[in-house]
Symmetry: C2
Subunit: 167 residues, 2 copies
DNA sequence: CTCGCTGCAAAATCTTTGCATCAGA
DNA sequence: TCTGATGCAAAGATTTTGCAGCGAG
């Protein structure tokens, strides 16, 4: 089976999780500022990828990005380069999803994380403040200077639980 | 492959996770039991990889495993197959490290996670019980059935902080 | 006007697969 | 013995790299 068909469907059909969540208004000014702050240029491919990411708070895979960007005439090399660059300057971060694939997820104000349904891909964001407490605790207990964390929580959303039953 | 249900079961209970997979001394009996429980055979390559993992609680990359196993006359295909198999039956889990590379980490009693120094790679384990609280909270707030999580916290260990100063 | 950025396609890596043979239960 | 498991090597994916032209600053 074509492995990305599920994600493709998910992104083709714009689903709303809850109010205030899927706000795909790409803040190009912020992008430009981030880039400029690192001495980098703001180009069309970078804006396009940024917009794509902004529209997918639950993250996208490299393959999805390549497909989407190809439709805009952007080469895969640029996708890889830009993704790596965004990660370097802190616009996105990389996790791997429940299926083991890398996903690039945009950082959002308030330090949110995504709770992803492994069946339909729908995502809900949550505040990770509990982890900040954990980080402080770890810092004091271990002497480490904590620089960051990756978190991913996955499960099944209410709709998929109802649909599939208690497997 | 029906994934993650094992992890869900493992973390449903607060502390105990996989009784028997303890400590740096490879518990081959536990390995054999896990394999047998899935109708799989206990072979020399599987024991060797298991021992390697047991000796690296902070996890190993595929490349490291391939190199180490090659010295034992074990082919790379077997390493990939065995790693995937171990993940399926819940002996190890996969995260990606601070450097973005996949790391395979052995499950250990108490559901520990690693706090990794991004400079020297030294790791300290910690109990993630705070996340279990978070998971319960998320479940009740969102209606999701939580199946598992990945967490990685990274920073600089005391030694590296001293060495490198306050960069 | 300058150099950083890009698309294209080849090159380098990383993973998976097919198959004959070996060995665990 | 009977299959599952393995090693080897080829096939298939994925990611990186080289380069000349384009365009942001």
């Amino acid at each position: 089976m074509p492995p990305t068909s599920r994600q493709a469907a998910a992104q083709a059909r714009p689903r709303r999780c809850r109010p205030g969540f899927a706000g795909p208004a790409p803040d190009f000014a912020a992008l430009a500022a981030s880039l400029a702050g690192h001495g980098l240029r703001t180009t069309a491919p970078r804006r396009a990828l940024f917009a794509l990411l902004a529209g997918h708070p639950q993250g996208i895979t490299v393959a999805e990005a390549i497909v989407a960007m190809r439709d805009a005439g952007i080469g895969q090399a640029t996708v890889y380069r830009t993704l790596g660059l965004f990660e370097t300057i802190g616009i996105i971060y990389c996790v791997h999803g429940a299926d083991g694939r890398h996903r690039f997820i945009p950082w959002r104000p308030g330090h949110m994380h995504a709770l992803v349904c492994r069946v339909c891909g729908q995502a809900v964001e949550f505040d990770a403040c509990g982890l900040q407490v954990l980080e402080r605790l770890l810092a004091s207990e271990t002497g480490y200077e904590i620089e960051g964390h990756h978190v991913e929580v996955f499960g099944r959303c209410p709709a998929c639980r109802t649909r599939a039953g208690g497997t």
